[in-house]
Amino acid sequence: MTVQVKDTSAATAPNVLFPALKEAFIASLLIVALGLPLLGLKADNQGPDLVLTKRWDLLGIAVAVMFVGRFVLAFLRGQKAARQGGLPQEKKKSGDNSIARLLNQNAKVLGLLGLLCAILMPFVIPDANARYVIFISTTFMIYIMLGWGLNIVVGLAGLLDLGYVAFYAVGAYSYALIATHFGWSFWICLPLAGLFAAFFGVVLGFPVLRLRGDYLAIVTLGFGEIIRVILINWGPVTGGPNGIGGIPAISFFGIEFSRGEGGFASDFGLEYSSMHKIIFLYFVILGMAVLTNLFTQRMRKLPAGRAWEALREDEIACRSLGINPTNIKLSAFALGAMFGGFAGSFFSVRAGFISPESFTFIESAVILAIVVLGGMGSQMGVVMAAALIVLLPETFRQFAEYRMLAFGVAMVLIMVWRPRGLLAFREPTIRLHPKDHQASVKEAA
């Protein structure tokens, strides 16, 4: 018996080297194939002519790096496996680890802390870069709000919506049109824009009630495009590609942020600063985002919200329990769209100018990416993912053209490490036992 065991261990040792070499060779071949057009050959403009420069040295370096790196990696891995008796390593169950659990279980405390930071932030940052920081934070908040809105549709109700930006656009345009034509204030136009967007949510919802998954995604994608094309072509109303300008700026409940008498600064005895408006806008979107969050959190604990989640899990079972799937889907679409509309009208009032260019498919993709990266249905996850998606490209700004590359790499890495999203952990909406009870029962079982 012992002899046999020794034999096998001796046999595995040389076996590590050869597969590692083979793996490295294959990887290098791949690099040659990929790198030949990308690195090896380069077309340059020299005056009127196009000259092909050959950069074999660059390609050689890339191949060498790949070969050595892949070999070392494969070799070490093979040795480790050999030491463990040749058994393949047991894969860790991803997407359910303790960090996500910990973060989610303390979501309330963390959320309040985050909110406190967000409220104090405008008052403590140095003046030098205040404008920039608050501007970015406002964008960040818009995306959080959009993420939370889409989370209702995608994360809770499980309806894959690739055209969410349509509702964002409807909100923005209805705000702009109402505000410019009737001159009503932000606080009247905002709910109206939300209602319009919700109406469009229902309009989209009706034809797609029978669709699920991929088919639903395609139709919503089409809907997003329809809205954009209408915005471009319905010139008399939407201004076509020129968009709508001169949208009235936000006022502090009727008091305008203007220089001189009757403005916000003079009324409150402050020195005029253009920062007042920017900070106020920041607080408005912060308030709206918090409202979205509280609303969603509460809805999850109500029958309608539970039915959303049940619908995501199993529509047929829902029907067998007497739940009307039509109402549930429509309410998810309408509410998700409403928050998109709110965010849109905020976008409108902040920018003062909107055009169809702001509502392209890439926006839908970014919002969906926030929801998926964050972990479907997770409120905390949306914040973290929005931070990544909005702030990461900003921090890499000095690397100019490479920042989108870094952004893409980060997205791929997150999906490799945490395929179910950053914080994929579902907190039950109702409990019968305290939290520690559950653990003790599990241990006993």
């Binding site: 609303f295 509460r298 809805m299 604990k301 109500l302 029958p303 309608a304 919200g305 539970r306 039915a307 989640e309 049940a310 899990e313 199993d314 047929i316 079972a317 829902c318 029907r319 067998s320 329990l321 007497g322 739940i323 009307n324 799937p325 579902r426 039950p428 909406t429 109702i430 409990r431 019968l432 036992h433 009870h437 559950q438 029962v441 599990k442």
Partner: protein, 296 residues
């Protein structure tokens, strides 16, 4: 409203003790006739079993009864003890559970796997809670009306959890439960809609003999204490013969026998359907024993 009156006529005559009256039910899929002119009655406070070889059309009957299919021909009359007569073939799928209070389980368990056990049971009480929360408005404004309704819902859930011994696991994800518990939970969830008729599609599939016995007790309990009629599709003869009051045997979509377990067990057409045309001297006694199952 027109729809309502069509589905709930007052001049339909059914036997006085009937809970569910199936008349001339026929279901065709293109050229295939899955159910052919099936009529039977499920009586109040009785367990009616539907048995038959694979492909006999048992699940199709359930799908017609619970609104997942629209029958090609036939009338399905449910006599609700409180709400009167409902014609199920005229009702939209989800309304059969919502208004006629017919609940069902599925052959391949259909729980909400990522939701907890308790949540599964609360979702089942959706319609009552939705009304109590005034379509979420009362819930959003934290009115006591909703929170008391939710407490009641939890109490009902607790009652059923205790009944099947899942109380301690109420906060588990339903998908993490062992198979037998998932089967029991699905029955509990169906009971949480407060049904008058419970349709169970192979509840004993995949259960071990001990669990089958527990299931028998549970179903008998549901019949006795809740007064709910049960319609049962089952292959496990120890369950069928033990607890059924009345058995309907299907073969190739047609009813071949209908009566008490004793009658069905000795019906030569049933034995033929299960074993084929060839009459063998020795086999029928073995089959009879097999059919007798738990009774023996």
């Amino acid at each position: 409203m027109v729809f309502q009156s069509l589905a709930r006529p007052t001049d339909v005559k059914v036997p006085s003790d009937a809970l569910m009256e199936v008349e001339h039910l026929t279901m065709r899929f293109g050229g295939l006739t899955a159910i052919d002119d099936l009529s039977f009655t499920a009586r109040k406070k009785e367990i009616t079993a539907i048995i038959g070889p694979n492909g006999a059309g048992k699940t199709t009957v359930f799908n017609c009864l619970t609104g997942f299919y629209k029958p090609t021909v036939g009338r399905l009359t449910l006599v609700h003890p409180q709400k009167g007569i409902h014609l199920l073939e005229r009702m939209e799928g989800f309304r059969i559970a919502q208004q006629a209070n017919v609940a069902r389980t599925f052959q391949n368990i259909r729980l909400f796997p990522q939701m907890t056990v308790l949540e599964n049971l609360i979702v089942a009480q959706h319609n009552a809670l939705m009304k109590a929360s005034a379509f979420s408005l009362a819930g959003l404004t934290f009115l006591p009306r909703y929170s008391s309704a939710e407490k009641e819902a939890v109490e009902l859930a607790k009652y059923w959890l205790n009944k099947v011994g899942l109380y301690d696991r109420a906060d588990w994800e339903a998908g993490n439960l062992p198979y037998g518990d998932q089967r029991r939970l699905e029955i509990c969830r169906a009971m949480c809609i407060r049904p008058v008729l419970l349709c169970l599609d192979e509840p004993a599939a995949g259960l071990n003999p001990r669990e089958s016995l527990q299931l028998n007790d549970l179903l008998l309990g549901i019949r006795e204490s809740e007064g709910v009629g049960i319609l049962l599709i089952e292959h496990d003869m120890s369950v069928v013969m033990e607890i059924s009051d009345h058995i309907v045997v299907l073969d190739h979509g047609r009813k071949i026998s209908d009566g008490t377990p004793e009658f069905v067990r000795n019906d030569p057409t049933v034995i033929k359907a299960y074993l084929g045309e060839e009459e063998d001297e020795e086999l029928p006694t073995e089959v009879a024993q097999d059919l007798a199952g738990g009774a023996a």
